[in-house]
Amino acid sequence: MGMTLAEKILSAKAGKSVSPGDIIAVPIDAAMAHDGTAPLMIKSFESMGAKRVWNPSRAVLVIDHVTPSPNEGSSSLHKMMRDFAKKHGLILLENEGICHQVMPERGYVWPGAIIVGADSHTCTYGAFGAFATGIGSTEMAAVFASGKLWFKVPESLKIKVEGSYPEYVSSKDVVLHVIGEIGADGATYMAVEYVGEAVKQLSIDGRMVLTNMAVEMGAKTGLIAPDEKTMAFLRGRIPSDVDVKAFEGDNDAHYADELHVDVSSLDPQVALPHSVDNVKSVREVEGTPINQVFIGSCTNGRVEDLEVVARILRGEKVKVRTIVIPASREVYLKALRIGLIEMLVEAGCVIAPPGCGPCAGGHLGIPSPGDKVLSTTNRNFKGRMGTSDAEIYLASPAVAAATALKGEITDPRRLK
């Protein structure tokens, strides 16, 4: 019998053929922790009495969740990270952007690699055919010390996406729709493998949205088989000596289940407060008044996202507070050079520096009590953005831009 994409990557690393349920220990190709998780990782690393980081050129610390620092407490934690990075000769990326954007940009992600991050959205890197998953701080300390980790080989869930995208329907709508169908624990412990024409059609930006939100259905990781678009993105970024292995799942592999999505008939989707699986068509929630719009995050803060927003806002003025945060310095520069930032600023948006911004409730746009926020991020749990008495609606950049223009949830297809 054939193998799924996840089974192929794990088998290649384990040096034997593995099946779901097997517990294996494998070498880690790259590891990352950020300012929300690295300080505890450092504490555990030192408490263990570990002396050395297994491979300083593959251990990355990113300051992205609250940067530039908004308070003394965060500044102290950032200093702890800088000191640790200096002591062990690690890479420290500060003010460069969100970890899940800068890791692929800086060449720490490639097809066939196994990557762990002390962040649940580490599964994003599966967009490049890497097996990547989130772990906690102490486990990350163990990886920093040993370069290895155990995994239970997951079952795989195949999601076949077909059809062609109508205007203003995007991969965000696909993944929200799937989460609404199977629930926030619908893929617990599984590897979600996205296949089909409507996955291949997507740019790298669009694919990263699908894999990013795999964890919101409980999955261990999300995966997309690499192709020429993947390699075009990675060329010149990844080191020449890494072992790139471009796998794809076999047709006769065993999948725990298989779902089909036809994007041709899909509406823009919205996840209502306070859970990511509370998903409805935008048509059902149109007119809901909104106080703040946030466009950014590791889900939807890339150039393609800013492009669609600028296209909708061009020559218009937003009606509510609208915060836009490019996912990285590279994204920011490109958006500047092609004129998107100017259009957004003219439309009344405020542009904040690359990083996570208000997504995780740290800074740069914490809602007021009672606010309703429409956000392009990945989570709308109560308290997520820093205010327990605020409501968060999740949607695509197109819905966010249309909503910013009208001050209420708006279907972008009805703007014309």
């Binding site: 220990a25 965060s74 934690l77 962040d119 163990a142 617990t188 409980g218 261990k220 995780a360």
Partner: protein, 169 residues
């Protein structure tokens, strides 16, 4: 720690890490005395001041969903919680709990058979759970052996200090 006895606090489905410890606190400090004051704040404000050492949480499905923050099991443990029993766990929370020495037990039936305030006795090794009020004994699948080894050492840090290597090496 193989036999635990404690009073139960009940919570529902999908208790996210944002309810267990809102992200806004974790960016400022790793001081657990400070963070534990906010344990379960999003689900039950004031929980941290009500809970006693040795108490046990019994919850619905998908406990600990959301972020990878290890602060979530840490604040529960630091606030005094001796174990979490849930219909199911989000996978990162489950691994984190074991790694910091907080027992986590999956049981589909515990939620319906246990009431808030019940005193229960949990035998981790043998997978038995006794409800004192009813005398009922429930069985659960014990934590897998190699995770139990980490847990009984007191978590991954203590495990490494004791053995000089990780169990998977």
């Amino acid at each position: 720690m193989m036999i635990l006895r404690g009073k139960v606090w009940k919570f529902g489905d999908d208790i996210s890490t944002d309810l267990i410890i809102p992200g806004k606190y974790k960016f400022k400090t790793i001081d657990l005395d400070e963070l534990a004051k906010h344990a379960m704040e999003g689900a039950d404000p004031g929980f941290a001041s009500k809970v006693s050492k040795g108490d046990i949480i019994v919850a619905g499905k998908n406990f600990g969903c959301g972020s990878s923050r290890e602060q979530a099991p840490l604040v529960l443990k630091h606030a005094g919680i001796a174990a979490v029993i849930a219909k199911s766990f989000a996978r990162i929370f489950y691994r984190n709990a074991i790694n910091i020495g907080l027992p986590v037990i999956e049981s589909k039936e515990a939620f319906d058979k246990i009431s808030e305030g019940d005193v229960i006795e949990v035998d981790l090794q043998n997978g038995l759970l006794k409800v004192e009020r009813t005398g009922k004994v429930l069985k659960f699948k014990p934590i897998p052996d190699f995770l139990m080894a980490i847990l009984s050492d007191g978590g991954l840090v203590e495990h490494y200090k004791k053995r000089g290597k990780f169990i998977w090496e």
